[in-house]
Amino acid sequence: MRTRREFLTTAAGAAALAPAVIRSTALGKDGAVAPNDRIIAGGIGLRGRGMGDLGWMLPEKDVQFVAICDAQRSARENAKKFVDQRYGNTDCKAYPEVREFLAERTDIDAILMATGDRWHALMSIWAMRAGKDVYTEKPSCMTIAEGQAVVATAKRFGRVYQTGTQRLSEGNHVFCFEMAKSGRLGKVHTAYAHIAPWDDAYMRHEWLPAQPEPPKEEVDWDAWLGPCPWRPFNASYIRGGWRGHYDFHTSCIGEWGAHTFAQAQAGLDMVHTSPVEYEYVNNTTADGMVTHFANGVKLILSRGNKYWHGSCGERFDGEKGWVAAADGYSKPDVSSPALMADFRKIVRDYMARTQRPMNHMRNLLDCVRSRRLTVANPEVMYRSMTTVHAANICMWLKRSLKFDPVKAEFVNDDEANRLRSRAMRAPYTY
């Protein structure tokens, strides 16, 4: 007899691979999916951005969200309330301890995760090890080694994984990638990627003043810190003040580079590698850092709005013109209006060719059923985050670096190589 999980991917009948293969009208009235065919989902660490992701997931008719886990009581109760209100019941279970949660809920197929950055990779690994598929917010690893471990774990256990670089599933950006990859811009020689304009590449190393630790049932401070070095509690951290601290954050480069490097590398068809050279820039923000891929194409980090109008943008410069996309305006920016002529066709063809929808969450759910690789799969995450980490290390060491993407190591630079990983605090290890 088959289990429900097997049925998700292999059952005969229209619902088996519904979104990927079958039009919703074939599913039944209003596209409804029978309860036992639904993807059972749970959440970990869902707050601001995570609640947005949850609001994105819950309307999907083939998902049943059943449980939330958070080391912070107020956050898990808030998420439970949100889910219960949506479903009109009180069925969503809340768990404070993640290892118990993962071990106990063997019924859960997919995990939606939006903890702080420090936990993204480790939690993804734990969830995949527990047999779950994963959607995680970005930046999805704190070190190059963590990125490699995510890739290895997903392969090892046959897991589907999507990192939250949702612009890889947005028409404006996809159009730009396709324009760059297809040769319509001529030979592309340079890409630009936006880095967060409010942060520095250099981060804080000091501890905030110690405050009394709250009761464990309110905030499990040890679990909150997870694999990071211990430091005394300060309420600022748990209110988002962890950003900018070396132990918890990946700087202005990772904050947006997690998105924009993935975007740039998608358009350059460099999702399976990383730049081989990083040129140090003598400022505090990495603005203007030039990186070089092995084929000579440059990826340049840019902090301002010189190359796009909005935020989180990327631009591709080729011999015949340029295209750019970013949040904040409704269509891509192009060097000539003629480049926009086939916008709809280009995006439509991409969707037909890849069977990927212009909906990042939907792409994950489709792949949970089909077992295909998501658009922001572990390799895409690892390679783009390697670019992030290598650029950060270049800034921290204040010297230009050469990197071997095959060996995943800096060339003749032991100090840089040591920064590819950080020892994790037990028991928060992989």
């Binding site: 804080r204 003043p209 600022s236 069977q355 295909r372």
Partner: protein, 739 residues
């Protein structure tokens, strides 16, 4: 401001004055002093300073630092940070220190040390780690299993193999993962037999978690390589969903072409649900060898599997799929036909374009027409000569398909030929297709920048109700400076409501044609009109001379789409043509001219024509163009009054009332209000009053109020009444009488 836990001692040890830059004073320098950092560890410095010293020693430690770091491994507060520095230190003394700590620490600290030895792949630790597999502390035992897996030697694998079957449930996944890791390492080291032995143990494990079953099957298939194909196929043929998934995932990773051939050969024999999963693999592998099998399934299989097979073909990107997809486009199943069309459109291959072009010269008419349609969908610019040739095909359907395709993709170079096709059209549908194609090319190839642009009103801010700024003057300046579009941005207009997402609303006219656009912040509004290339008009006018009458009629209508003075002149001349049919169509086209440059002709016709049909057409054209002309309100009103005076039928009176609503003046209200008492026209009059009032309520509230009260009294249209009442509240004054 928070007081930060900094240490003057440590900062003094770390910071090099020359390295300090603005904004990074508290940052570790590029060059570190190991001796000073070791001294911090040996001092009575507080925890933060020692932790920070360890963090910096991660970068620079040598064997000199190992004793000081090793001393901290048993320190509850600093053990982790000691590992932070020791773990990446390649000197053997670091591993020795970690191994030595195994017998000295317990619990979390021990789990941490064990993990570090695994990260370092320290083979000398295998015996000690193997003993820890039975440690009472589950965290320690699990860490030991994963560490042994990372070390991945034959000895490490042996220790795990012995332990995995006996592992308690709570430790089972960790032990299995350890063995999976070890098997991966052994396979990578070329010790395939040992790796396969490890995988076989995991495959035999019962019960085993689904992810372990998947991992074990994947591993054994990948390790065996092509020799693993029988096992892969066995899984794919079966009904164990976990193993089917594992096999298809492995098939995506397995190098070499054999796996594609094996799956392609098997595809037709599989259960439908497994066929679907295999189509995903074959698409992902992008090997053209799978195309025949996918096409076969696409032609004959269960509905969902047929669709999956078709959708895998664009991912492969081989032109060899073109003919089969073309045939599927006429499948009886509409979903299949649509999927085939989408797939063929998306299939990126020059071979497809070549195959389609070849089909134009061979095959039956249906095939030729389908090939033409796909060439259009695929925007194949190189196909223009073939398309032009096909436009002269013996089959009408092929000719029409070709002309339609040219309408979608032809440019200036093909325009004369397209005019020629129109003149030679052999049937009404063909003529119609050619006329539509000409109009489409005129529209597509028209250039921005034409037309007289008048900025009427521009507002930027948190529209509709939030703070905003009137930026009419600024936009007018930008247009005067030669811009043809305006960015709705703070850079242009400043920020009237900091931190709030803004909108930009602009009212403007191009050649007297009023338009309103609202866009989001950072969007761009194009304000200029468009000009059809003059050579297009020249070509069409020249063709008029010798074209047969039906073609002449079509050309005149196309000239209306092109617009401009030369086109108008050609139509004007045609109104005096000796051929009544040409003359009548020319008069219709003239009366329907879209821009006010035709007003003098139309007005004259309205006043002087003896032909009732022309009189009505011209009166309607006149009423339509009155508000669009560049004229004063008084001139427009005078013209409107005159035209209204000539209107005898309710249809034209309604048009007149609609025209009045586009002339926002008190005098317009005076003109319209009497019609509120006309039973047949009161609703149009009410709508006109409300439209005028919306523009005047701020400046002429009293006059607007009187007219609106009358609207509320007379209208039976709920929407009009609601709008009127809303405006009345803005205008103030007494409320309307209750009816």
């Amino acid at each position: 401001m928070l007081k930060l836990l900094k240490s003057a001692t440590l900062l003094a040890a770390l910071l090099l004055p020359a390295a300090a830059l603005a904004g990074e004073e508290a940052q570790p320098p590029a060059k570190l002093d190991e001796a000073k950092l070791i001294a911090v560890l040996k001092s009575d410095a507080p925890q933060f300073e020692k932790a920070e010293a360890c963090r910096l020693l991660q970068r620079c430690a040598t064997k000199e630092a190992v004793p000081a770091l090793a001393a901290l491994l048993a320190d509850e507060k600093l053990s982790h940070m000691a590992r932070y520095a020791l773990e990446p230190l390649t000197d053997p003394s670091a591993a020795e220190a970690l191994r030595a700590a195994l017998g000295k620490v317990k619990g979390r600290l021990l789990a941490g040390v064990v993990t570090s030895l695994g990260v370092r792949r320290d083979a000398k630790a295998i015996d000690a780690l193997a003993k820890l597999l039975t440690d009472a502390d589950t965290d320690v035992a699990q860490a030991a299993a994963r560490a042994l897996g990372s070390i991945g030697t034959a000895e490490a694998a042996t220790a795990l193999e012995a332990a995995v079957a006996k592992a308690p449930a709570a430790r089972q996944v960790a032990f299995c993962e350890g063995l999976l890791r070890a098997a991966e390492a052994l396979a990578a080291a070329g010790k395939k037999d040992l790796a396969l032995g490890a995988y076989d143990i995991l495959r035999a494990l019962k019960p085993a978690p689904q992810q372990v079953r998947m991992g074990a099957l994947r591993g054994v298939i990948l390790t065996r390589g092509d020799e693993g194909l029988p096992l892969l196929l066995e899984a794919v043929r079966g009904n164990d969903g976990i193993l089917v998934r594992a096999a298809t995932r492995a098939a995506m990773e397995l190098p070499g072409p054999a796996v594609v051939k094996a799956l392609a050969d098997e595809l037709g024999k599989l259960p439908a649900e497994n066929q679907i999963l295999v189509t995903f693999v074959l698409g992902k592998r992008a090997d053209a060898a799978a195309v025949p099998a996918l096409l076969a399934l696409a032609k004959k299989g269960e509905a969902a599997a047929r669709l999956a097979a078709i959708r895998a073909l664009p991912e492969i990107g081989s032109g060899t799929a073109a003919q089969g997809l073309l045939e599927l486009m006429s499948d009886a199943d509409a979903d299949v036909a649509a999927a085939a069309r989408d797939a063929l459109t998306a299939l990126e291959s020059a071979e497809v374009d070549a195959a389609l072009a070849a089909m134009l010269t061979g095959g039956d008419a249906k095939t030729r027409a389908a090939a033409i349609e796909m060439l259009g969908q695929r925007r194949v610019l190189g196909a223009m000569p073939a398309l032009l040739k096909a436009a002269g095909d013996a089959d009408e359907a092929v000719r029409i398909a070709s002309i339609k395709c040219l309408g979608q993709s032809a440019g200036a170079a093909e325009f004369p030929a397209l005019v020629g096709l129109l003149c030679k059209a052999k049937s009404a549908p063909e003529l119609q297709a050619a006329e539509a194609a000409l109009s489409a090319v005129c529209q597509r190839e028209s250039l921005p920048g034409g037309g007289a642009v008048v900025i009427l009103k521009a507002v930027y801010g948190a529209l509709p109700d939030g703070p905003s700024a009137d930026v009419t003057k600024k936009v007018a300046e930008l247009m005067k400076g030669g811009a043809t579009s305006v960015d709705a941005s703070n850079a242009n207009f400043g920020d009237p409501c900091n931190g709030i997402a803004k909108k930009f609303r602009i009212e403007f006219s191009v050649n007297g044609v009023p338009q309103t656009k609202t866009v989001n912040e950072n969007d761009t509004v194009t304000l200029a009109g468009r000009i059809t290339p003059p050579e297009f008009v020249d070509t069409m006018c020249a063709a008029m001379a010798n074209a047969p009458t039906p073609a002449k009629l079509a050309l005149m209508r196309a000239l209306r789409s092109a617009g401009g003075p030369k086109a108008l002149d050609a139509i004007r001349k045609a109104t005096a043509d000796a051929d009544d049919e040409i003359k009548n169509v020319a008069l219709s086209v003239l009366c329907d001219w879209p821009t006010p440059d035709a007003l003098p002709d139309i007005t004259k016709l309205a006043k002087t024509s003896k032909d009732a049909r022309v009189k009505i057409l011209s009166l309607r054209g006149w009423l339509r163009l009155i508000p669009l002309q560049e004229a004063t309100v008084e001139e427009k009103l005078a013209a409107l009054k005159e035209a209204m005076g000539m209107a005898e039928r309710p249809e034209e009176k309604r048009l007149a009332l609609a025209a009045s609503s586009a002339i926002p003046a008190v005098e317009s209200l005076a003109l319209v209000v009497p019609y509120l008492s006309d039973k047949g026209l009161k609703e149009e009059a009410g709508a006109a009053v409300v439209a005028i009032a919306e523009k005047l309520v701020g400046s002429r509230p009293a006059e607007v109020g009187n007219a609106l009260r009358k609207v509320v009294e007379e209208t039976t249209n709920a929407q009009t009444a609601k709008r009127a009442k809303t405006l009345l509240r803005q205008a103030g004054g007494p409320p309307p009488k209750k009816r």
